[in-house]
Symmetry: C2
Subunit: 139 residues, 2 copies
DNA sequence: GTAACTGCAAAATATTTGCATCCTT
DNA sequence: AAGGATGCAAATATTTTGCAGTTAC
């Protein structure tokens, strides 16, 4: 994993520092979206809160991660997938938040359906959040 | 409008107080979703910040308004439409946020398309936020 | 060596809670 | 009259900013 995260940082022209590696590792081993709070709690060595803020901002700006909408005010974040690059992003996939366990993950198989918008509207980005009960919790 | 808001409050079994009327008026005359900050700024007489928090919570709990997702962490709110009642809610409509003017509004004409989810997922609520340039700003 | 990154302190914002008072029913 | 709603003060929590020291390249 070390190799993967270092590679990612290089690809996106970011210096490989410990904080960035740690946060990136966390994203890599989590298959769900993380909030700022999640990151602070779950990261290995305790990072300064400010560093987390700044790292997330940097990752966002460079396009390493993207925002995942949430219904509680506190945005989450997830790694961009292979389809994304520095040049352009393609995450018109669906996010599913389980109301039981609270986890939000990407339903990579589900595409956002095409929609016809009223005249004059230009679309830049689409975010679809479905809330309900996930597979694990509906047992 | 006085009559409308008083009626609404009665229907939802809420006491008609000045704060509630004011906030409800604001929602009624705004055709776009409002954040807590918007409300504090735009309401006629200046209400205590705490009252705004509590009023929004009450309106939400009773089902007078619903959350509108936002990409900046700070949830917005909008009135539920006729299709909603105390019994059940139906706002599977689409929200559009203009990246120019920042306004978010409901595209009442656009329905959320049906989607096939993987086995085991139960859907409770769907939120679709499209970002781009609105009709007014794309001139 | 230099620019970029980090951590600490502190400022600025945002949200929640407790309580006395006032208002709607 | 009684329970609910408000406003103020204060406690918490969150996010941003400045700056000095450290680190990656």
């Amino acid at each position: 994993m070390e190799a993967v995260s270092n590679r990612l940082l290089k690809d996106f022209r970011l210096r490989t520092t410990q904080s960035r590696q740690e946060i990136l590792h966390l994203f890599l081993r989590s298959d769900y979206a993380l909030s700022h709070g999640d990151i602070e709690k779950e990261v290995e060595s305790s990072l300064d809160r400010v560093t987390v803020y700044r790292t997330l901002k940097t990752f966002l700006d460079k396009g390493l991660i993207h925002k995942v909408l949430d219904d509680e005010g506190s945005l989450k974040y997830a790694l961009c997938n292979e389809a994304c690059s520095v040049a352009g992003h393609h995450h018109n996939h669906v996010h599913f938040k389980c109301v039981e366990c609270g986890q939000t993950n990407c339903l990579t198989d589900v595409e956002v359906p095409a929609m016809r918008l009223p005249k004059g509207y230009k679309v830049k980005e689409i975010n679809l959040l479905i809330q309900g009960v996930c597979e694990a919790c509906s047992g």
